[in-house]
């Protein structure tokens, strides 16, 4: 029950922002560009905000880890609130300054949803998943045995108590993120008021006033949150107080919408949009079959799956057959199931990655280049359906390929070594599959960005390599898909401790979602 409640809460924190945006898009015919611009303003603000807070902590203006002379609470609350307000509202203002075509209230709401949406996905979904998966194994264990400082142990106890007290507590972070999402929408609409169509001196002053107001509002809310959090209040009471901060802004937003309501667009019925998506999906599967891509994926995955235990088993013997290699053959330890799995892991990560890039790079670019996209997009084909159908198809084909690889590898391992633990093979393959998905999504994004297949290939490869490089940084490694590959390797090797990395799982899903949203947003703006 507890796990289900947390899974639901995490799932909603990740999926609700795009679902709300999709509904807003249909109602007011808004582009996904605004949602993605909001995500970018959030990312840009954090790129300044987080290092700024670190520097302020070094200077003693904000509390720092292991410091004895931490500043007073009022100062911490005020400075933390002010840095958040300044960084986020100025980033938002920069976003609106660049998006000159979008000045309506609903545009502000969409950008706010993107800004608060990414915050909910990362600081909500990913963080809660990471915390929950890290804390859950500790429930019922003796915390005194852990090598922690007394205050760290106290914090851990408090977190565990909150976590385990009731499944309803799983909804606390969701509630908090929903309130924050509402606030981000309000801040966005306030900042949007700064951008008046006429550039008179009065309007410029008025505009600066709105940005200042948004900064002050943001500062007040964040400062109050820091203050109340330090008071160790009942978490529900804390969320109630947080919700009170939302009220004045919500009332103002309601007044703005009722005084000048935006035009409501009569969108095609939702069922019609899904019917189009299903038609596109059907075509994509047919294409995968007719162009033999399914066979290529099945052959490559199947072959390398089967070959993995064979290579592990015969490597010492092959080494022995090489002239002069006999002396080394005796040095190689007898092959084991772990070696078979290590070979499987290596093959899948290498060839899976290559296949994802090679087979996916022309998915959209190829259609743009040949002109097939222009003809299809002149029909009632939604651009989201065009993109998502390609992702779902590719993801399904790789799933089938990986299943084949797993069956081949597991079966040959059972024949050559000992009976396979299918749970381990299944879990590890599921992790490897999830590891592969971001590369499929990044390649699709590259294919949208590139006007030709070669440019798309370059963009996809650059994006994938960037993902691998960022994932190898110590600070980010546990939240990037690379952690899933490491987790799979650990499972196969049977190395303890087998700890769930919920953060990496959630981050991988968020990464795929963000790539897909950007692909749709960019494709919507493109001429074909």
């Amino acid at each position: 029950m507890l796990i289900s409640a947390y899974l639901l809460s995490i799932g909603l924190m990740i999926s609700l922002p795009p679902i709300l945006a999709a509904s807003l898009r249909r109602r007011f015919r808004l582009p996904w560009l605004l949602f993605c611009a909001g995500m970018l303003t959030f990312a840009a603000s954090q790129a300044v905000h987080l290092p700024l807070n670190e520097r302020l902590a070094e200077w003693g203006i904000l509390p720092g880890a292991g410091r004895l002379d931490n500043p007073p609470l009022w100062q911490t609350a005020l400075v933390a609130g002010l840095t958040a307000g300044l960084c986020e509202e100025l980033a938002r203002a920069a976003g609106f300054a660049l998006l000159r075509r979008y000045r309506a209230l609903e545009h502000g709401v969409m950008l706010g949803l993107g800004h608060g949406g990414l915050e909910a996905m990362v600081f909500g979904g990913v963080m809660v998943a990471a915390t929950f998966s890290a804390l859950l194994p500790l429930s019922g264990s003796d915390l005194q045995a852990l090598p922690l400082l007394p205050e760290q142990r106290q914090t851990l106890e408090l977190q565990l108590n909150t976590l385990l007290a009731s499944p309803w507590n799983a909804m606390l972070p969701l509630l908090e993120r929903l309130i924050a999402l509402g606030l981000q929408v309000i801040f966005s609409v306030i900042v949007l008021q700064a951008f008046s169509p006429t550039g008179s001196k009065y309007n410029r002053l008025r505009g600066a006033g709105y940005i200042l107001l948004a900064i002050l509002y943001h500062t007040t809310v964040d400062a109050a949150a820091v203050w109340l959090l330090a008071k160790n209040l009942n978490p529900w009471l804390l969320e109630g107080a947080f919700a009170l901060c939302l009220l004045p802004g919500a009332a103002w937003l309601f007044w703005r919408f009722t005084s000048s309501p935006p035009a409501i667009h009569s969108a095609a019925p939702l069922a019609q949009e899904w019917a189009v998506f299903l038609a596109a999906l059907r075509k994509e599967f047919l294409q995968q079959w007719r162009t033999r891509r399914i066979l290529v994926v099945a052959a490559v995955f199947g072959l390398f799956g089967m070959a993995s235990p064979l290579m592990a088993y015969f490597t010492p013997q092959l080494l022995g057959l090489i002239p002069g290699g006999e002396q080394f053959a005796s040095l190689v330890p007898p092959p084991s199931v772990a070696d078979a799995f290590a070979q499987y892991h290596k093959n899948i990560t290498q060839f899976g990655f290559l296949l994802a890039v090679l087979l996916g790079m022309n998915a959209v670019a190829g259609e743009k280049e040949s002109g097939t996209a222009a003809l299809i997009l002149s029909k009632p084909m939604n651009r989201w359906a065009f993109i998502v159908s390609k992702f779902v198809t590719q993801a399904s084909v790789y799933l089938g390929g990986l299943l084949l690889a797993m069956i081949g590898a597991g079966s040959y391992t059972a024949v050559l070594f000992e009976a396979s633990d299918w749970n381990v093979w299944l879990s590890a393959s599921a992790l490897l599959y999830l590891w592969l998905l971001p590369f499929v999504a990044i390649t699709l994004l590259g294919s949208v960005i590139g006007a030709t297949t070669s440019v798309a290939a370059g963009a996809a490869l650059a994006g994938s390599v960037a993902l691998l490089l960022i994932g190898s940084l110590p600070a980010a490694s546990s939240f990037f898909p690379g952690a899933l590959s490491g987790w799979a390797a650990q499972l196969g090797a049977g190395t303890p401790p087998q700890v769930w990395n919920g953060g990496a799982l959630a981050a991988t899903l968020v990464l795929c979602l963000v790539c897909l949203l950007f692909a749709i947003a960019i494709f919507e703006q493109q001429e074909v």
């Binding site: 015919r29 038609a279 596109a280 294409q287 040949s370 097939t372 222009a374 002149s378």
Partner: protein, 319 residues
């Protein structure tokens, strides 16, 4: 805009553009296009290469974004990325491209599903459309092996599949041989009155043959819109061509001198056996020209009041 005529009130128009403009950097591909296409017409959109015909059609189809301005088809805006507007028209690009691994049957089924046609509607519509374009026997062959003419007919089939009230055809005959051109033009003619056809081309003979309305675009600007017959009569020059039998060659100098001395004759020119007489007074010419020729013993093979070709008008207007 010279001679621009709005042919019907906007509410009745099948296609309407208001200030439709598209710049590519400094290049003004289409500028302030104001157009109203009457329902049921076959509307020829003429222009030299690079005049802005394709850009206009792509904006109408929602594939290119206008720099400013709007366009509507059957009253639904098509320039705002609204996918529902795409049910109102069928679009054939200049070089239609299909999935080479598909058969016409599969491609049309796919298109029909995008339009939400039911299985029975789809079967009926595909069968009718393939018959109309003459691809029934090739319906299960891969499109990848089709000739240029078959591809073009396939393009018309996909545009007509959902029975749209408006067809946007971008240079539909430019890549076809004479037989293919004839077939496609016949097909378009058969749609007259049932479907509004917006047809861009630089092949003037095609436009003159099938279109009942004509617009000419020059360097992104609309320079002329009119009904075809109005246009031809408006630009008609008052001239007569007389072709004589070879034994009358060369024409008697006395006859030419007498002709030039007539007060209703503006200009006389001769090309072998054909005499062209531009007149200033049609009535006087009708009464006196033939008797004068007979008086000098000319044997007349052909006597014809000259009608200008669309090509002459096009060259005059688009120069």
């Amino acid at each position: 805009m010279e001679d621009a005529v709005l042919m019907s009130p906007p509410a009745e128009a099948a296609i309407r553009c208001e200030g439709l403009t598209r710049y590519f950097g400094e290049v003004k591909a289409v500028e302030e296009l104001e157009l109203s296409v009457p329902r049921g017409s076959i509307f020829g959109f003429l222009g030299r290469n690079g005049a802005g015909k394709t850009t206009t059609i792509r904006m109408l189809a929602g594939l290119a974004h206008p720099t400013r301005g709007k366009a509507w088809i059957c009253g639904i805006e098509t320039t705002n990325a609204d996918s529902s507007a795409r049910r109102t028209f069928g679009y054939l690009p200049q070089s239609p491209a299909f999935y080479s691994w598909m058969t016409p049957l599969e491609y049309l089924t796919y298109c029909g599903r995008l339009f939400g046609l039911s299985a029975s509607e789809l079967r009926q519509s595909i069968s009718q459309t393939l018959e109309l374009v003459g691809l029934e026997t090739a319906s299960r062959r891969r499109i990848g092996g089709f000739s240029g003419g078959m591809i073009q007919r396939m393009g018309i089939a996909q545009a007509l599949l959902h029975n749209p009230p408006v067809l946007l055809l971008d240079e539909p005959t430019s890549s076809l041989d004479p037989a293919g051109r004839y077939e496609v033009l016949e097909l378009i003619s058969r749609l007259r009155g049932r479907v509004t056809v917006f047809l861009s081309s630089h092949i003037l003979a095609d436009i003159e043959r099938v279109c009942d309305h004509v617009a000419i675009i020059r360097a992104g600007r609309l320079v002329l819109v009119s009904e075809r017959d109005d246009l031809l009569s408006r630009y008609a020059v008052s001239a007569v061509e007389i072709e004589v039998e070879p034994e009358n060659h060369p024409l008697p100098e006395r006859f030419l001198a007498a002709l030039r001395s007539q007060p209703w004759v503006a200009e006389v020119s001769q090309d072998q056996l054909v005499l062209r007489v531009a007149v200033s007074d049609q009535e006087a010419a009708r009464r006196q020209l033939l008797p004068l020729a007979l008086e000098f013993g000319l044997i007349i093979r052909r006597y014809e009041w000259v009608r200008p070709t669309l090509e002459e008008i096009f060259l005059k207007v688009s120069a």
